[in-house]
Symmetry: C2
Subunit: 240 residues, 2 copies
């Protein structure tokens, strides 16, 4: 069942068995990808969308100097570039961060779903809106939090998303990226990420080493990052 993590803990239960079967059969290919591999370049017409099955992917844009700004990080179960279907071309690049396994869905098959399955269509729409909600929180993070807050918030978000698909137990999870990647996500230099991680380590809040995140003091971490998971629309994680 390739789509088992899609919308997991997020109204997946609203999908009928026929809806799920329709989605499964829309997949035409499964592919293994290496780390740091470009999948879609900004501006080029797209004809397929990518469902991430395993690993981490990201979406990003470059500034004039060629510096990256990540705008999204994706985990298993995410329909990474579903928005490419209505948009027809993307405004950003899509790439893997780590090794990954993906399922490919041609847009022609999505068109059939839209024509025939209003309920599934609405949930596909819903899933792109969760991405938009995460974008908004990303804006908040960059606009209103300082460096330690940004890193903390980002890692809280990742943990929550990974827990929803069974890839984190809430204490530790794998995140095989480097400090520079983290900086590109949180709008700061790799050097400063290093100093912030040291602070978090010294305060016994969080450890990030060898591609592994260990949350030592979740309360403090969430407080530092001003984190409230409501925006992730995960079942049961309502506004506190």
């Amino acid at each position: 069942m390739l789509t088992k993590d899609f919308l997991r803990e997020r109204h997946r239960d609203e999908l009928s068995e026929e809806d799920i079967a329709a989605l499964e059969s829309a997949i035409t290919e499964v592919r293994e990808l290496g780390a740091r591999q470009l999948l879609v370049r900004a501006g080029e017409p797209v004809t397929m969308s990518t469902l991430l099955l395993e690993g981490f992917m990201c979406r990003y844009m470059d500034d004039r100097a060629g510096e990256r700004q990540l705008v999204a990080v994706h985990v298993a179960g995410d329909f990474v570039d579903l928005h490419g279907f209505p948009l027809k071309r993307l405004d950003h690049d899509v790439a893997t961060l780590t090794g990954a396994r993906v399922a490919l869905v041609p847009h022609a098959n999505l068109a059939r779903i839209v024509a025939e399955r209003p309920n599934l269509t609405k949930l596909l729409w819903f899933s792109t809106l969760i991405d938009a909600a995460m974008h908004r929180e990303w804006i908040f993070r960059l606009g209103r939090l300082n460096a330690i807050g940004r890193i903390s918030h980002f890692l809280c978000e990742l943990d929550a998303k990974l827990q929803a698909v069974g890839r984190s137990d809430g204490l530790r999870f794998e995140l095989p990226i480097n400090q520079n990647d983290l900086g590109e996500a949180c709008g700061m230099t790799g050097v400063h990420v290093n100093r912030i991680l040291r602070q978090l380590r010294e305060q016994k809040v969080l450890l990030f080493r060898n591609g592994m995140v260990e949350i030592q003091d979740r309360k403090r971490l969430e407080r530092i990052g001003e984190f409230d998971p409501a925006y992730l629309y995960i079942n049961g994680a309502e506004k506190r």
Copy 2:
């Protein structure tokens, strides 16, 4: 024709006359709103969506200290909280910036459209994805541009959106907000906005006074803001 500005210059031509009639008849009420009026509070269930007919609205979230971060600014023709239909509750507040006229669309009427009109549904979906694209550009702005770049980019975006709905001639447009609002959008203090506006004024790039923006040197403005309108998906404004 209340919906005449909806998706104007953005594939509105893909809507059939019946689609447009269906959308028009989904509107149950038109309302005039004062400036700085809260419409939707984060977390509360929503049952209607708002099509902005005239004026400026915004969406924002507060940090712990109560400081606002704007995550979107809307102009005439924008379906401000259409995403509230699939999401059922919002992760942010929605308010007017200026006096405004809005059309209200109950979600029950949207449900009928989704059930009966796949083509219109896909364009409604599309319109929420343009918002997401603007969110991404907003992330880029905050993460990768300095203060003068952020202000410049933001005003370029507003001008492009307003031109698409005939509210800017490309030289000047009304924007009746204050410097502090601008700061809340661009992630900086009002004081610093003031200094940046002075720079833009002294360099004869742009004037912002009395709620009116005058673009004096568009080339420079776009260059300072690293602005490329491709992400707005406005017809004819393709990737350069």
